[in-house]
Structure formats: C-alpha cells, structure tokens
C-alpha cells in the first residue's frame, strides 16, 4: 500500500492549523478555569489505592472509613475490585495503619498502595517538570540548529510544544488525573515527537540538495514530496508505537494507566504535528527568507 498520487499536505495543513489553534484555545480556557486534576504527586496529601478480592460498594466501605476517622471527607473512587481513597491531608503512620486494618476487616485479601507527599515536595516535583520541558527544548533547538538550520529548529519546537500542550489540554478538558508518570509521558512524547519530525525534516533537507528551488511553488511541492515520501514510514511507526502504548493502556498495571493514556494521545498528536504542523511551518519560515530574493532579482 502506498500513495501514488501526491497529496497537497501544505494546503491541507491550513485546516489543521485551525483545528490545532481551536484546540489550543479550548485547552487554555479549561486550564485557566479548571486547571489540572492533580494527583497526590503534585499536591500534598495521601492517596490510598486498594486492590480487593471482591467488589465492594460505598455503603460497605463507609463504616471502615468512619472507624479510621481521619480528617475531612476523602474523595472515593470505586472501581471493579479496586478502591481509590484520596485525602487532602497527609496521613501519618498510625492513621494509615488504622485505615488498612479497617479495610482488611472487610476483605482480608486487600492489598494496599499508599502514597503520601508533603506540599514542599509536591511543588518541587512540579517545578522540576517544567524545567525539564524547557531545558529539553533548548537542547533540541541547539542540536537541530547545528545539524539543520534554525528554521527547522523553530518549527520542530513549535510542533513538540504543541504535542505536549495538546496532551495537557486533553487531560484538563476531561479532568484526567495528572501524576508523576504523566510528566514522564509528556517528556517522552516530546522525545518521540521530535524524533518523528526530524525524520521528515531529514528528507526535506536531502531533497533540498537536488536542484534549486526558485519559487515558493517549488518549495511547496518539495515539502509535499518529502512528506509523501516519508508518509508510509510515519504511519507505520506511529502505528507500532501506538500498539505498544495501547496495550499498556488496556492491559497494563493500574498505576501506569494515566501514563499509557497520555502516551497514546501524545503519539497520535506527534505523528499528526510532524506532517501537518512542523513541515508547513518550516515552509512558512522559509518563504519569508525567499521574499527579498524575489523582489530583487538582480541579486539572484
């Protein structure tokens, strides 16, 4: 299977720009109004994950929680043979032991995962995550500028920030929980997204060597040609990585669910942005460079 006919990706990208911008705006609105649904990793408190041998109802669980008598009302999410209890305050040793004992009374096969984080630590984690994103971006700009040119670097950075932001936006819109593994996922998406973009840019760079591109039309068809030449590879790769992440999502451990989900979303955006955002953006930047040449043919 391959495309014999060259699609006009540059032209198509105009519609996708609108789509991306709309999603970005929606994401910003949601972020500004609702923020992110932070897990215990990012705000102080305790998270208790219980795996049970049978499913229980809130009514069954309530007495256990009352018995433990810990602070304010926790947020309780009940799943199939799983219960998640989230406290806004940090449980100390005694409290978590009391809680465990109370739940073990309902189900003696219960297995627990208790995470407790204090405020200062939570802030530090969030700060480090932001630094990581910024620093990675700078590293990539430098590398791509050396290996390619600054226009490629700029376009790829826009694409990768777009991918990272899309994942954040979707997590904000759907109120999905943001934990430490989410940060890892976003950073990995950045790494993968740039990987994907570089492959296409590599091809553009290679094609640039053959013949002179005199006009914008030449450049445009060069971008279209490069994208379609690498299209099958982009689709296959996106598919294989997607398969890996997808199975992690549906079959993997509970605690990496959000990680896998973020990866799946990010991978799709990564493949999409390399084709419809990064490459046309490079063309846009390149076009500006060409303008003075056109207006002053004597120099050409």
């Amino acid at each position: 299977m391959r495309f014999k006919k060259e699609l006009d990706f540059v032209h198509l990208s105009k519609f996708f720009y609108i789509f991306s911008i709309a999603l970005t705006v929606a994401g910003l609105v949601f972020l500004a109004t609702f923020g992110l649904n932070y897990s215990v990793d990012f705000k102080a408190g305790s998270n208790v994950d219980v795996s049970l041998s049978k499913s229980i109802t809130l009514a069954q669980l309530q007495p256990a929680l009352d018995e433990a008598g810990i602070g304010h009302d926790p947020t309780i999410t009940i799943g199939d043979k799983r219960v998640n209890i989230r406290y806004d305050e940090e449980l100390d040793d005694t409290q978590s032991e009391t809680l465990k004992a109370a739940i073990t009374k309902i189900d003696d096969k219960a297995s627990f995962e208790v995470n407790t984080v204090d405020t200062e630590m939570a802030k530090e984690l969030a700060r480090n995550a932001i630094y990581s994103v910024l620093l990675s971006s700078i590293g990539i700009i430098i590398y791509v500028s050396i290996r390619f040119e600054w226009r490629f670097a700029l376009a790829s950075i826009v694409a990768l920030l777009h991918d990272a932001f899309m994942v954040v936006a979707i997590f904000s819109i759907f109120r999905l929980e943001v934990d430490l593994t989410f940060i890892v996922a976003v950073l990995t998406i950045i790494g993968y997204s740039i990987n994907d973009t570089i492959v296409i840019f590599d091809r553009i760079r290679e094609n640039l060597r053959f013949g002179k591109q005199k006009s914008y039309e030449d450049l445009k068809s060069l971008v279209n040609k490069s994208v379609s030449q690498t299209l099958m590879r982009s689709l296959y790769t996106a598919f294989t990585v997607f398969i890996a992440a997808f199975f992690l999502l549906i079959m993997g451990g509970e605690s990496i669910k959000m990680f896998s989900l973020a990866m799946v979303i990010g991978l799709l955006f990564g493949a999409y942005s390399s084709i419809f955002i990064a490459s046309p953006l490079w063309l846009l930047l390149k076009k500006r460079q060409k303008t003075p040449v056109k207006s002053n043919p004597a120099k050409a």
């Binding site: 297995s111 740039i194 570089i198 492959v199 290679e206 890996a244 992690l248 990496i256 990866m263």
Partner: protein, 417 residues
C-alpha cells in the same frame, strides 16, 4: 558462501545464547518496590538543634545508621541512599510490620554509657549512666594510647558527673551502647577520670576505631528526619501490576513483530530478530548494571521496542523506495542503509537529549525511566541499525535476497531507469 555461513553461525549462536540465558536472566532482574511490594520513604534531614550544621558526612552517617537499623529489623535488602544535600531515600521490600519499621527509623541514634545494675546477669548492663546529651557534640575522636594503639576519646560536658561515675565504677565495666546495641567489649574503669574525657580502648584497628568514633558522634549529633514522601505497595498489588504489564508488553511486542514480518517479508524477519536481540541485550544490561526494574521502567522498555522498530521501518521503507526507482537490489540496500543511518541517528540523538534532561532533573521513578530510555536507544542503534544493516547486506551479497518480492515490492511498481 563464506558470508552465508558466517550469517548462519551468528544467528544460530545468538539464538542459542538467548534461548539458554533468558530464563536465568529474567530471574536475576531486580524488581522495584512497586512490582514486588514494600515501602519507600524519602526523608528530609535537619540538625536536631537549631543552629546546628548539616554536613555531607553527618548525612552519610545517618544513612548508614538507617541501613544498619533496617538490617537489624530483619528486612530483606534495605536500600538507603542519600539525595542532594539533605535527603535520604529508604527502600525496604517485603515488610510485614510497616508501622514498626517506620517508628524505628525515625528515632534518633541514642548513645548511652551503662553499668551493670544489681541483679543483672553477667554481660548485661541495664543502668544508664550517661545519655547522648551528656556528651559534647561531635567530640569523639581517634587517638593513640601510650603503646600507639588506636583508642577513642570522648568529651563529657559535666566533668564532675563523670568523675563521680568513674569513682563509683572503679574496677567495674562501663558499657557503651548505641541504641540497644553494645558497641564493643565493655572496657573496665581503671582510674577516676576528672578531666571529663573518656577513652575507649579495646585493641581496635585504626579503621574500626574511626568507625566507632563516627557512630558515637552521630549518636551525639543525630539528624532529625521528617518524611517528605512515602509510598507503600502491598505485595499482591505489586505482583498484579507486574503480571498485567508484562502481559501487555508481550502482546504489544508480538503484534509489532507480526506487523514487521508481514510488511517487510524477509527483511522484516531480520528486523524482528534484531528487535528480539535488542530486548535480550537490554535485559542483560539490567542484570549486569544491577538496575532496578520499576513499573515506569517496563513502560519505557515496551515503548522502546516500539521506537526501535522505527529504525527498521525507516531503513526498509528507504530500501523499497530505492528499488522502486529502478536500482539493483544491492545498490538499493546500500543506499537505503546509508541514508537511513543518518536519519535514525539524528532522530535518536534528539530523544537522548530529552532523556538526559529527564535524568538530570528527575528523581526516583523519572530517573529510572530516563536511564532505561537512554540505554535502550544506544542498544537500538547497535542492534537495529548496525546489526540489522549487516544481516541484510550479507543476505543480499550471498544471493539469498534476489527478488524485489522478497522485500514486499511489486515488480510493477519498479520504474525503469
């Protein structure tokens, strides 16, 4: 034929080695707490008294002391590491009484001098004569006695008190305890000591003496520990996560391999072999470097397989493209290998940059994830780039790959030159 032979030998030997060693290797992979159950605490350390100082050495000593305590509690393989300038991370697997361990860990090391009370059996010292706060902070030091043997000297704040004790215990033993552990053979009090300095001599080597002095100083200047972060995972839950995630990984990887073989035929089979080799090498590195496999680690592992496939896809797509343009198979493979090499390197270097940043800024699980990603990319370059290219070239040169069909290219797609 010689080429073909070396190819066959390489493949057979590698397959044999992988098949034989894999079960053993898998058993040796060290599992993280999230996969086998246990708990992890990150402590923030600060001096007991305000105004005291926190030194690298005191942090190190506190960590060592925590480790000793964990060992004393009979836990399996406690892991204690210092982080930054004021943090200690403690990981203990398979604990039954978590609350007890936590309590023990936080108590400051208590140094006491004790004597035998009335009714104590021989070797038992239950009367506490001096406690940690009676000693001058950090005053324990190693000296040499008249015979040039190392001994430990400790200064006591209240000279009169110490004089009284030594007078009372003249000729008897004065035992030194750190927490509930007897530090050394209890020395006999040989004279009334009025200068407020106690010496412990007991035929120590210089290193032993230093260690005891350090321990005493730690006892006299314990660090206050507060829990910053804690995670405790039940053993059942850990096992469950491991099983689920590994199963997900196997299914995902199988689909990827089938896809490769279906898509690229014989080169796809070679690529699959390179991918399996890549995975095996990664496990080998895990065991040799003694990495701990955590849940995010497995995720990185599986994701890495997905990304490693990229190198093979780029190469094979490129080769097909060259073929369609009408080049001979050998020159298509050569050109495909060459151009894809550059592309794959550029793409992987950028991912390494991100991983390196994660490693530098991350803690705990993030660091582990980043490290695995870096190792994986490096291994992927070796196996999915160099080794896969080599296999393909050998087969083409040996004449085993002659038809475009074997690459999944239709004859009708090939344009005349």
């Amino acid at each position: 034929m010689k080429r073909m032979l070396s190819f066959i030998i390489t493949v057979v030997v590698l397959t044999g080695v992988m098949g034989l060693t894999t079960p053993g290797l898998l058993d040796k992979v060290r599992l993280g707490l999230d996969l086998k159950g246990g708990f992890e605490i990150l402590y923030h350390a600060e001096p007991m008294d305000t105004g005291g100082t926190l030194t690298r050495a005191s942090l190190q000593k506190t960590a060592e002391s925590l480790e000793k305590r964990a060992n004393a509690l009979g836990t399996s393989e406690p892991e204690v590491t210092t982080e930054g300038t004021d943090r200690i991370r403690l990981k203990i697997a398979g604990v039954t009484d978590e609350a007890e361990v936590r309590k023990k860990m936080k108590e400051p090391a208590v140094l006491t001098f004790r004597s035998a009370a009335d009714g104590d059996a021989a070797g038992v010292f239950s009367k506490i004569e001096l406690v940690g706060s009676d000693f001058v902070e950090g005053a324990a030091e190693v000296q040499r006695d008249n015979l040039n043997r190392p001994e430990i000297s400790i200064s006591i704040k209240d000279k009169a008190k110490f004089a009284e004790i030594t007078e009372r215990l003249l000729g008897k033993q004065l035992a030194i305890y750190l927490d509930e552990t007897l530090l050394s053979d209890p020395p006999y009090v040989r004279a009334v000591l009025t200068d407020g300095k106690a010496s412990i001599s007991g035929g120590y080597t210089l290193d032993e003496a230093r260690e005891i002095a350090d321990t005493i100083n730690l006892g006299a200047l314990p660090l206050k520990l507060t829990e910053k972060y804690s995670q405790s995972v039940g053993a059942t839950l850990g096992k469950q996560s491991l099983d689920q995630t590994v199963r997900a990984g196997i299914v995902g990887s199988l689909i990827i391999l089938i896809f490769m073989m279906f898509m690229y035929r014989l080169p796809g089979v070679l690529a699959s072999f390179a991918l399996i080799l890549h995975t095996w090498l990664l496990i080998l590195v895990f065991v040799i470097a003694d990495f701990t496999l955590t849940l995010p680690g497995i995720a990185a592992f599986i994701l890495g397989i997905g990304m490693a496939v990229d190198a093979n896809i780029i190469t094979n797509e490129r080769i097909r493209e060259e073929m369609r343009s009408g080049k001979s198979i050998l020159s298509s493979v050569k050109a495909g290998n060459k151009t894809s090499f550059r592309t794959v390197m550029d793409a992987n270097v950028t991912t390494i940059i991100v991983a390196a940043v994660m490693f530098a800024f991350g803690t705990g699980a993030v660091k582990g994830f980043a490290l695995i990603l870096i190792v994986e990319i490096v291994l992927s370059i070796v196996t999915n780039l160099y080794f896969a290219h080599w296999m393909l070239t050998v087969l083409v040169k040996a004449g085993a790959l002659k038809k475009p069909k074997q690459f999944g290219v239709k004859e009708s797609d090939i344009s005349a030159l």
